[in-house]
């Protein structure tokens, strides 16, 4: 069973999807990621999908769900590195994912998370 590794980088979690996103893999990721966010008290999640070149409506919805769940757990999700073909497919499928944040690459995504963290203290104690 393939698993997608979840790496901790300071207060953020980095998820790099490098395998084919089967439905099962996506479900497992959803489970593990929510648990890790709670366990690590993560403030943000970077979802790197630069190696994903095929998406369907299920995976598209999954990405949206993961972002929504993270937000409920008070961690901002940034989807980074989406390929042009994937972006066009998602839009054509009607999944424009208006509520999630996006960035061109991991660098830009990290900068976005940091600036968002600065702006909204979210009632956390600064470490």
């Amino acid at each position: 069973m393939e698993r997608i590794p979840i790496l901790k980088m300071g207060p953020y979690l980095l998820v790099t999807i490098q395998v084919d996103m089967h439905d099962r893999v996506a479900m497992t990721l959803q489970d593990e990621l929510t648990e890790r966010i709670v366990a690590e008290r993560a403030r943000g999640v970077l979802l790197d999908i630069s190696s994903v070149d095929v998406v369907d409506s299920f995976i598209g919805r999954m990405i949206g769900n993961i972002a929504s769940m993270s937000r409920v757990l008070d961690a901002e999700t940034v989807v980074v590195g989406m390929r042009p073909a994937v972006a066009i497919t998602l839009v054509e499928l009607g999944l424009a994912l208006p509520s999630i944040k996006t960035a061109l690459n991991v660098d830009a995504g990290m900068a976005l998370l940091k600036s968002a963290g600065k702006m909204s203290g979210n009632g956390r104690l600064t470490r």
């Binding site: 042009p84 972006a87 066009i88 839009v91 424009a96 994912l97 208006p98 061109l104 690459n105 830009a108």
Partner: protein, 287 residues
């Protein structure tokens, strides 16, 4: 059938005479464009056609049978050349139709006083030449269509440039109508450039888009959504007053998209977001 081959032999024997008559008719016809075709070229073309015609005619008088393929190919070639030279379809069809007269003359000579035979032969010839004449029109249309297709393709490639305005700022000046096929090309070009240049802001300028209806608006919104998914922001600029009115009257919701009246305004917004400022040099303003 034997009557056919007799007629075909006769055509072959009297080819020079027929050719001479045919050339006379063509040259006297009002539709001949002497400025576009030389007499010698026309003669060569006619001779070649007559050769193929008599050969095919000896086999069958049905223009749809395979024996007529070389004739049709020759006609298509003639039509193509003429279409490119700027002939109208009438002028090209006259090339075939003017052959009727010399052939009818010949048929009349052969039939003598046998009016039934004459009527039959004339009917065969008319049906045949009409088909060939119509074929030139078809070939003409095909040639024109291929020209139009090529031009459309070229237009599509020409009219979707992605310009780099600044570090991390791209501009996409759209000119002409936006249909689905073009939106696809525009979107792909823009997203590819976003990846290559690492742009954070893309400005779509629609000054050159003549009309914006719900479909065009939807295409624009798709492009904006796809760009956003890639992690870049989109600004739409160049919205003319009439277009602003149309968009509101159509009830299109562009609230989620940043829109600016001019490309300059959009560029200023882009620079602001990047944290860059443009200042006027004091020395040049005083002068």
């Amino acid at each position: 059938m034997s009557q056919n081959s007799q007629m075909a032999d006769e055509i072959r024997n009297k080819q020079d005479l027929i050719l001479k008559h045919w050339m006379d008719y063509q040259l006297s016809a009002l539709t001949l464009r002497r400025d576009r075709v030389k007499e010698s070229d026309l003669r060569d073309m006619s001779r070649r056609f007559l050769d193929l015609f008599s050969e095919a005619f000896s086999a069958s008088s049905d223009a749809s049978s395979p024996g007529w393929k070389p004739v049709k190919e020759h006609l298509a070639e003639v039509t193509r050349t003429r279409a490119e030279q700027g002939f109208s379809p009438t002028e090209t069809a006259t090339f075939v139709f003017s052959l009727k007269q010399p052939l009818f003359d010949l048929a009349q000579q052969r039939a003598g006083h046998d009016s039934k035979k004459l009527a039959e032969t004339l009917w065969d010839l008319t049906a045949l030449l009409d088909k060939l004449g119509l074929y030139t029109t078809e070939a003409y249309q095909e040639t024109r269509e291929s020209v139009i297709m090529r031009q459309q393709q070229e237009l599509m490639e020409l009219s979707t440039p992605v310009v780099r305005l600044w570090d991390e700022v791209l501009a996409l000046p759209l000119i002409g109508t936006l249909d689905s096929a073009r939106t696809q090309v525009v979107m792909e070009n823009l997203l590819q450039q976003v990846v290559e240049t690492g742009a954070r802001i893309a400005i779509i300028d629609i000054t050159g888009v003549p009309t914006v209806d719900t479909l065009v608006a939807q295409h624009l919104m798709k492009t904006v959504a796809a760009t956003r998914l890639m992690g870049a922001d989109c600004i739409i600029s160049g919205i003319r007053p009439q277009i602003a009115q149309t968009i509101v009257h159509l009830g299109v919701n562009l609230n989620d998209i940043v829109t600016k009246a001019t490309l300059a305004d959009a560029f200023m917004v882009a620079l602001q977001r990047l944290g860059a400022t443009v200042t006027r040099n004091a020395a040049s303003t005083s002068g």
